[in-house]
């Protein structure tokens, strides 16, 4: 019950931040448009833009709700329900964004493997929501957290994806999946991308969930004897 109520409340909160939502839409668009002449780059940049926007949304959602969630935890809300409730709302919003860009890309590019495009966008959203939560827990202030995300995304954009170190970055899978969607490459790209996605997703979700569980769990107090 907590999960659905928190999720519904978070969606309402997000829906009222219209200017923020506008920029959540504009950011990936800018990334896409500046590389639209080079399709594989346009796809990868679009995915990174969506990832950045969704991670930022998650960051602000978790940081902004921290005190309220602590209060809800004190009166009995499950820390797990609070965490996944906020995550669910961000993922739903991110999937809506991904859906819009799926249509835009399908209409403006020749994509040989359309399902792979959907996979690219969905996996990006699924990684980015817990990634934003992880950053919100490590750097629990909005400005500092946004700068931390900026650093991660700048690295993601500038580091050569072929470099072994690049695989340590959370959205490396976008390179493999965007190549698989648009270029005549083998399925090894798909498998490598999905493997990286799965490992990153599990790590981010586990880390964010465990840390937020301990942050939101109130001290256990015994009833008076």
């Amino acid at each position: 019950m907590t999960l659905t109520a928190v999720s519904a409340a978070t969606l309402r909160e997000l829906s009222r931040r219209r200017v923020a939502l506008l920029f959540v839409f504009v950011l990936p668009l800018v990334f896409y448009v500046v590389r639209v002449e080079v399709p594989w780059q346009a796809l990868r940049f679009l995915a990174l833009g969506i990832g950045w926007a969704v991670a930022t949304l998650a960051l602000f959602s978790h940081v902004g709700a921290r005190r309220l969630d602590q209060r809800l935890g004190v009166i009995g809300a499950s820390p797990t329900g609070l965490f996944f409730g906020r995550q669910l709302a961000v993922v739903v919003t991110g999937l809506g964004l991904a859906g819009i860009y799926f249509v835009i890309v399908a209409l403006t590019q020749e994509i040989p493997r359309l399902p792979a495009l959907a996979l690219l966008l969905v996996t990006t959203v699924l990684i980015s929501a817990p990634l934003g939560a992880v950053v919100s827990l490590v750097v629990p202030r909005e400005l500092e957290g946004a700068l931390a995300l900026l650093t991660i995304m700048t690295l993601q954009l500038l580091v050569d994806p072929a470099d072994a170190v690049a695989k340590l970055l959370p959205l490396w899978s976008t390179r493999e999946l965007s190549a698989y969607a648009i270029e005549p490459v083998g399925e090894d790209y798909l498998y490598r991308g999905l493997l990286h996605f799965a490992v990153t997703l599990v790590l981010c979700v586990l880390l964010a969930w465990v840390v937020s569980y301990f942050r939101l769990r109130p001290v256990r107090l015994l009833p008076p004897a």
Partner: protein, 274 residues
């Protein structure tokens, strides 16, 4: 000179602010103006300023709503034994003791930096004590001093969210929250998010959320900041109504008003740096 109609309009506006339903407010204003006219008096001369009359009428109408709720009395709801809190070398709380029963009010007073909010957070469970023991009933209501509400949610959405935690249906949460709001002289509107409420009204929302599930213990951290004089008095009336209904209430305060009516006064000394 204000016409009777203008006085009546002002009375309606003030009654609405005091949490009276619009239809009832209009009828009351009509009756008041008609009564003054039949007595051959100007309503302002007969009843006084509309704002003052609205307050009196509002209090009278709210009185039956504030009837004590049916709750068990007397059991210990909070026991603090030699509670201490240190941050590094700084001792904020030293050997705090308190036993609070249902049906009692305790006020925590002290200078700025004496650890009042820290103590309340320890009672709530959001901060861990460095030493001593804290025993507390699990059914607790908690109103922190700041950031206890979401700026982007309306009052009704808050009621539903908090009600869900207490496993109340959405309808029951909104009905209970609206009724409690009226006791504080506030009629929540459906279309206004918390960020657009005045500071005092945000605090009313904060207080209402702490009482939504009729807890056995209510923890309040200076919740009256931003209240006007009338609301401040309504707030203390509400605190004593909860006490009379059997709940234990712990209020952090720096104001000495009404402290002669509380059952326990816990004065915290200024924290030391040693």
């Amino acid at each position: 000179m204000m016409s009777p109609q203008e006085w009546g309009s002002q009375l309606v506006a003030h009654l609405l602010e005091a949490g009276i339903e619009p239809e009832q407010a209009r009828l009351l204003a009509q009756d008041s103006v008609a009564e003054a006219e039949s007595a051959g008096e100007d309503p302002a001369a007969l009843y006084g300023p509309a704002v003052a009359y609205a307050y009196v009428v509002g209090q009278t109408l709210r009185a039956p709503i504030a009837a004590p709720l049916d709750r068990a009395r007397g059991a210990v709801v909070l026991r603090l034994t030699e509670v201490t809190k240190r941050y590094g070398r700084r001792t904020v709380l030293r050997g705090v003791n308190l036993t609070l029963h249902g049906g009692e009010v305790a006020a925590v007073v002290g200078a700025n930096g004496s650890g009042k909010s820290t103590l309340l957070n320890i009672c709530a469970g959001s901060t861990r004590a460095s030493g001593g023991t804290v025993e507390r009933t699990p059914r607790v209501g908690y109103a922190p001093q700041q950031y206890g509400v979401s700026p982007f949610l309306t009052a009704q959405e808050h009621f539903r969210l908090f009600g869900a935690v207490h496993r109340m249906s959405g309808r029951k949460s909104v009905a209970t929250g609206s009724r409690l709001a009226q006791q504080l002289g506030w009629l929540p509107r459906r279309d206004i998010v918390a960020a657009h409420l005045s500071g005092g009204t945000q605090q009313k929302l904060n207080v209402v959320l702490s009482e939504l599930n009729r807890p056995d213990l209510v923890l309040l951290d200076e919740p009256y900041q931003g209240f006007d004089q009338h609301t401040y008095l309504d707030f203390w009336d509400q605190v004593f109504a909860w006490r009379d209904a059997g709940a234990g209430v712990l209020v952090v305060t720096h104001l000495l008003h009404d402290l002669d009516r509380v059952d326990h006064l816990l004065e915290l000394p200024k924290a030391d740096e040693s």
